[in-house]
Symmetry: C3
Subunit: 203 residues, 3 copies
């Protein structure tokens, strides 16, 4: 189980990093920019979570092997782009991203609850963990955050829903491992449904 979660986490970090790399390339940045934005997209959400909660040392300081993975990913991605194959629109990436969304939500809520955060801010911290890496990515690329635009199917909303599933199950006295699993699964399913049926939040 732990190996599985770790594998999903590494994959999710890499998928988030990949979306940063692609965006930074489109913005015309150089290698420093591409690498920085890749790293920031992958770790930004978790870093904001830990800074808001006062949870030190940060996880990419302890698990610095994640930084190595992203640095190894960079040449692969550049090769793919040079071969004119942008795989960021594909279904596989979308599925891994949805898994990552769920996983980061669960990690945000879990760490917030472990630090005695009340339920409502814990749910918000779950959403922030899962989505603010992308927000910082867009700000660094001088764009309006994709997360806030009505052109995209539900994203933060799926994380918010899953966060409450986590909290609800914990409140009912369910074992944490089950609550984590239910959270990841529900975020994943909500996101897949949102993309499949193009559910959007217009005002």
């Amino acid at each position: 189980m732990e190996t599985l979660l770790y594998s999903i986490e590494v994959t999710a970090v890499l998928v988030f990093a990949y979306s940063g790399l692609v965006n930074a390339r489109r913005a015309g940045f150089d290698m420093v920019g591409v690498l920085t934005i890749g790293i920031v997209t992958a770790f930004g959400g978790g870093t904001i979570r830990d800074v808001l909660l006062g949870n030190h040392p940060l996880y990419w300081i302890t698990h610095w092997e994640f930084l190595v993975f992203i640095m190894l990913l960079l040449p692969v991605e550049l090769l793919l782009l040079r071969m004119n194959r942008d795989i960021s629109g594909g279904r596989v990436l979308m599925i891994i991203d949805a898994l990552g969304l769920g996983l980061f939500t669960a990690s945000g809520v879990g760490i917030a609850l472990a630090m005695n955060t009340p339920y409502l801010p814990a749910a918000f911290i779950g959403v922030i963990t899962a989505t603010f890496g992308g927000v910082i990515r867009d700000i660094l690329c001088n764009q309006k955050p994709q997360l806030f635009l009505p052109t995209e199917p539900l994203y933060a909303t799926c994380a918010f829903g899953g966060a409450w599933i986590y909290i609800g199950l914990i409140g009912l006295g369910i074992a944490p491992a089950a609550a984590i699993f239910a959270c990841i699964a529900s975020v994943f399913i909500l996101r897949i449904i949102a993309v499949r049926f193009d559910v959007k939040l217009k005002i």
Copy 2:
């Protein structure tokens, strides 16, 4: 007295949130964007204050009822906008915003002093608390921060003036409650004068 301060604080948080909601709507964001930017505008300044000072847990984690108030405000604001009535330019909002400016300045300086911050950085933290919610709001909307543009009457400057009144009175041995009150009053009066006589800081 405490009830009065709490009422002003809640009102100020809601006014700041409202300015975020209106800006986010103008930027064409969806419900997630509007709600996020409302929350960030209201809590951004205080969050930066607490993160800079290492003051945990953050106040919106302890006082999470503020998050509820903002979520309740959202449908009201959307209704108002749909009825084509933007009240953000009105005199009432300006007055509450000026009160909020004073209150957040006082809270920033007060908490900074309580954590043994020297006078000058404490004054800066007061100004940051009162104004950086709006700066983050503008960055998330991909605009130049309003706070820095010469088209607006004095804003941060009023907060800076009031911060020194607070610090000066504390330095003279005046009771903290009186210093807080004088700070809020002077920021409020400075801001009202700046708006009334259109005082600007050109270079």
Copy 3:
């Protein structure tokens, strides 16, 4: 030795502040904007370093005389600009900036190592300390970060190289003072070479 390092540090803070002041003036900001962006450019990198590491109180809270220096610099800079003399393109500023780049890299790596950060994240924190003040400056001015654009000679890369020299020498058991000096010198020399021969990181 300590007086020398302190003098370089003050000079570097002022040079970084100056680049913020000039950028803010070009963006059309008022006095509040110009002063804020000057301060943020100078202290942004070190502040992010301390917030990421949980290192409180922040250094500009302890060393608040730096804030005074920047406030004294503002009228001088405005006078220079009014006399139509922008010295930001000059060779002297470039040399002091290169020294500052080295000094901030060394301070970032040094503090990170002192807080038991593993080598790789310590190197990244060195680079962040030296370069993210400028990134925040550009974001506040609503521009793409200069740091990420392929039009500039190597900058972050020089800091990254110097960070590893520091870490390598510490790993070899060299005295910290020698490692700090070698780090500053190598960043400085790398940067001067990059500017002299216009070395860029295209992709």
